[in-house]
Symmetry: C2
Subunit: 356 residues, 2 copies
Amino acid sequence: MADTPVSIREVAALAGVSLGTVSNVLNRPEVVAEPTRTRVQAAIKQLGFIRNESARQLRAGRSRTIGLVVLDVANPFFTDVARGVEDEASEAGLAVILCNSDDQKAKESRYLEVLEEHRVQGILITPVSGADKRLASVQRRGTPVVLVDSRSPSRGQCSVSVDDVLGGDLAVSHLLEAGHQQIAFVGGPMSVRQVSDRRDGAVRALERAGRRDADLLVIETPALNVTAGQRAGSHLAGLPAGSRPTAVFCANDLLALGVLQEMTTHRIAVPESLAIVGYDDVEFAAAAAVPLSSVRQPRHQLGRAAAQLLIEEALGDGTHRHRQVVFEPDLVVRASSQGPTQGGGAAQPVASEAAG
Amino acid sequence: MADTPVSIREVAALAGVSLGTVSNVLNRPEVVAEPTRTRVQAAIKQLGFIRNESARQLRAGRSRTIGLVVLDVANPFFTDVARGVEDEASEAGLAVILCNSDDQKAKESRYLEVLEEHRVQGILITPVSGADKRLASVQRRGTPVVLVDSRSPSRGQCSVSVDDVLGGDLAVSHLLEAGHQQIAFVGGPMSVRQVSDRRDGAVRALERAGRRDADLLVIETPALNVTAGQRAGSHLAGLPAGSRPTAVFCANDLLALGVLQEMTTHRIAVPESLAIVGYDDVEFAAAAAVPLSSVRQPRHQLGRAAAQLLIEEALGDGTHRHRQVVFEPDLVVRASSQGPTQGGGAAQPVASEAAG
DNA sequence: CGAATGTGCTATAACGTTTCAACGTACGTG
DNA sequence: CACGTACGTTGAAACGTTATAGCACATTCG
C-alpha cells in the first residue's frame, strides 16, 4: 500500500550522484565508471525504482510499441498471427498492443485513435472493410501501417496475405489426382474475399485439368460454421447416389466438420463414398472422427512477416520500399481424402489443453 | 510521409489563444466560451492534432490502462475472459494491454515489469504458479493486482474464480438423477488444481447420494486433449460390458470429444450405452456428432467481475475492501447424457462473495 | 612546462501535457 | 461610483526522463 513513486532523482540522491549519471547507468552503463555504477545499481535496487515509460516516450517522441488490430481475438487464425507478431516484436524490444475491432467500423476507428495517441511505432491491421479514409489519414500523419491478410490495393503500403486462390487449387488438384470426377465446393457468403478466392482456385484447378467450369458443383452457404456445414451435408446426402459428387472441398474446417458429421449420420462412408478437404487446419481437424485433410496457412509466419515489414519501415534507415508479401498455403492430407492404406499427412499435433 | 508532430502549442498559435485554453477545450469544454471553443476546435481539425498520451500520462502520474496477463491467448477460456475485461474497462475509459505469459515464469516476469513501467492502473493476472514474490512486490509498490481463475490464498488481494468442485458436483448429480449407477471420471494430471477440484466435486455428489468414495472409477490422463480422451475411451470400451460404467464425466470437453469418438468407433451408443458429460462448453461441444452435455463457466462475466474489482480498487474512493468472488458454473444438458425427450440448459449463475 | 587529450561527471534544457493561481473585463449591486 | 463577483483566459510550474554542452581533473605529448 505504501505508494512511493520513486524517480530517478531519488536514486541519484541516495547514490550521491547527479541524475544524469543514473540515466547513463540505465542506458549506457559502459560510459560510467565501475564503482559509481555499482553504487547506483545498489540504490536502484534498494529503492525498488521502476522506470517511467511515459516519460521516456515523451522524451523520445515515439513509444516502443506497435499496435495490432484484428477482427476477432477468439479466432485461432488471429491468435496465431498475434503470436507471430509478438515474437518478432519482442525480439526488437517492442511491446504489442492487441486490439479487437470485432468487425465493427466504430471500434476499429476508436482503436486507431488510441494507437495514434500512444504514438505507436506502427500499426498492423486487418481492416473491417477495404480501403479506408481513416487509415489513410493515420498513414499520412506519419504512422506506418501494414495490412494483414488483405492485399493492399494501392502501392502505398506494405501488406502480407496468403494466396487463397492457390489454396483452393491445391485442394482440388489433390482430389483430382485421387481420381475424383465430380467435385463440390461448399462455402459462402461469396462476398467474403477469402471464400470467393478459394472457389476461384478450385475452378482454376479444374480448368487446368481440362474440365469445364461447370464441373464444379457450388453449394453456397450463408455462414462459415458447423451448422451451415451440416445443412450442406444434408443436401449432399439427399442427392441420388449416382449424381452425388464423390468429393467436396469446403471453404473452411467448420463447414467440413459439419459435412463430415452429416455423412456419419447418413451412414455415408468418408472418404470411400465422399472425400472431404477443409481449409484452415484448425486444432480439431486432426482429431475429428475421421481426421480431416485441410489447407494450412502459415499463420505464425504471416504475423512475423507483417511485424518485420513494419519494424523495417518504422526503425529502418529510410531505404524501406513498400512490399506486398504473399504466402503460399500448404495442403495437409489426412484420412478424410484418401484411401485407407496411406498414412496421415505431415506430423501434426492434436488439440492442446484447456485448463479453464 | 509528412512527419509533422503537431502539439497543443501550435493549435493554440493558430487559434490565437494560450495553450491552457486549448487544454481546457480538450478536457473541460464547458468552461470555455462558445466562440473560442469553436475556433480552437477548427484549429485542431485543420492541423490534424492528436493528443500525446505519453505526456498526459506523465502529468497524471498513471496511465489510463490496465494490464491483463493470461496463460494462453489461444485458449477460448481466456479470450472470453479478455472480452469481459475489455468491455468493462472500455466503459470506464481504460485501455487493456493483453499479455501472454505462455505459462512461462520468465515471460510473466518480463510482462509484469513492462506493465509497471507503463504505470498501469492495475493488473489482472492468472499467475503461472501460485504465490509469487514478484507479484507481491508489484503490489507493495502500489499497483493493484486481481487474481483471475485462481483463488487468493491470502486476504491481501482480490480474486475471481469459478467453483470447480461445484461443477463436478453438478455433472455427477445430473448423471445420478438419470439413474446411472457406475460412473467414471476421466481427467488429469491431478496436479492441476482445476482437475482435482472437479474430481472432488464428483466424489462429493456421490457421497451425498449415499455412495462410497470407491464408487467413482477414476481414469487419470496425462493431458487434457483429444488424444488422451481417445485413449481413455479405448480403455473403457475394452471393459466387459457388465462392469463397464454407464456414464463418464470428463474434466474437459476435449477429453469428452475423444471419448465420444472412440465410442463411435467401437459402435457403443451414446448416450444409451454410455452417457458423457464434459466441461468448458467449448464451441464444438454443441456441434459434436452427438451434442455434448457440458459444464459451462461464466467466462465473460468472470472477466467483467475481475475488471470491476480492479477498477474499484484503483479508482475508487479508498473504501475498497479486498474480496474473493467465486462464480457458480452451469450445467448444459444436451443429447450425450439424456434420453431424446428432454430439452437443454439451465438458468444463470449467482456469484457468492467472501469478504476479506 | 604549457598545451592538447581524455575521462567522468554535472547542470540544464527540452519533450507535451494538465493544473492552478492570477489576471483582466464586464456586470450588477450597495 | 467604488466594489464584490462572476466569467474567460493566461502564464508558469510541474510530471520523469534523455541528450548535450561544459566542467574539473589527470594524463600525455611536443
